[in-house]
Structures are given as structure tokens and as C-alpha cells.
Point group: C2
């Protein structure tokens, strides 16, 4: 497979940039909805420890801040990570070049 | 009024120590229940921002850690603060010496 080298400039067309923004925002929305649902679930328990909820949110926030990096030089890696973790679906990537999709899928498998 | 000086040693009898512990724990339970309820309420909103919830909990946790100081030298001030804020009720203080109750009430009014 002819893989994109992380060090060379990756070109994103205008239409790909629009798709990338949508993919990024959708994944973030899904993940935030999941964190919100989990937080509610933790609070349902009558013996809920509200500081355990706080610890959970602190950890999730750090993780989200770390992963969601919207730089065009990073997006292939970001999408690969999110694909692997299930926040991005293969069909979300429709409209990106075959080369980019291959790269994202490849990195998702090996990381 | 003959007020206890903050610098002089305040004597707590064994029975007062038991009451103090109960007052302290009850106030903390009430306040944590209130924080939990508020957190749930914030999450009820469909447009809930889970990081706003996280910020709220961070701030509340700092405040709780700061206020709830179970040192006998500090308890009069802690209880005064909690009385003023409504987490301790006057009736909770039954069984403490008249001098201590007066002092707590006095500080609660002036702070």
C-alpha cells in the first residue's frame, strides 16, 4: 500500500475540509453524549460518590483535549484513533480521497 | 458577650466531640446531596454542557476541601460558616456548651 508519510504535507481539498470538519464534530458529539450518559448513570446510584464523578470527568476531559486535535497535519491520525475507538464510522469518511481513507484504516489497525 | 478568643485553646469534652463529629458529618452529607442534585439538574438539560458540569464540580470540591476542616481549633469557625450557609441548623448544636454555641452564632452573624 502506498502510505502517506506523516512528515510530508497532506493536501486537503476544500470539499475534504468540509467533510473532515463534519467527521470531527460528529465524533466529538457522540463521545460527549456518551460521557454525559455515563455521568448520569454514575449519579443514578443512591450511593453515588460525586467526587468519583468529578474524577471521571477530569480524566475524560484530558483525554478529549488530547485526542481532538484539528490540525490538517494531524487529522489522519485523529480519525484513525477515533475510527478504532468507534467514534468515527467508515461511512463517515465517504468523500475523502481513497489514499486518505486507506491511510486512516491502516493506522487504525496498527495502533 | 464573653467570646472565646481564637488564639486560646478551646476545650472539647468527650460528649461534645461526639456531637461535633455528628454535626460535621451531617452538614457534609447535606451539602454533598445538594451538589449531587444540582449536578443531576444540570445534566437534565438537553443542551447540557458536560464541561460546565465538570467546572462546577471542580469549584465545589475546592470549596468543600477548604471549608470542612476538622481540627478542634477550627471547628467553631467551621460551624459558624456552615450555620450561616444553612448546612448546620441551630438545633444541631444542642449539647455543646452555651459558650461555644454563642460563639458560633456570633461569628456566623459577623462574617
Amino acid at each position: 500500500m502506498n502510505l502517506i508519510s506523516p512528515v510530508r504535507e497532506i493536501n486537503w481539498t476544500q470539499s475534504e475540509k468540509k467533510i473532515a470538519r463534519r467527521v470531527f464534530e460528529s465524533a466529538l458529539s457522540r463521545q460527549l453524549a456518551s460521557i454525559t450518559a455515563r455521568t448520569k448513570q454514575m449519579l443514578e446510584d443512591d450511593s453515588a460518590d460525586v467526587w468519583a464523578v468529578h474524577d471521571y470527568l477530569t480524566q475524560q476531559r484530558k483525554e478529549i483535549d488530547r485526542v481532538y486535535d484539528y490540525r490538517y497535519s494531524m487529522l489522519i491520525f485523529v480519525f484513525a484513533r477515533l475510527l478504532r475507538d468507534g467514534w468515527v464510522r467508515e461511512s463517515d469518511l465517504d468523500g475523502l480521497s481513497r489514499e486518505k481513507v486507506n491511510e486512516i484504516q491502516h493506522i487504525a489497525r496498527i495502533r
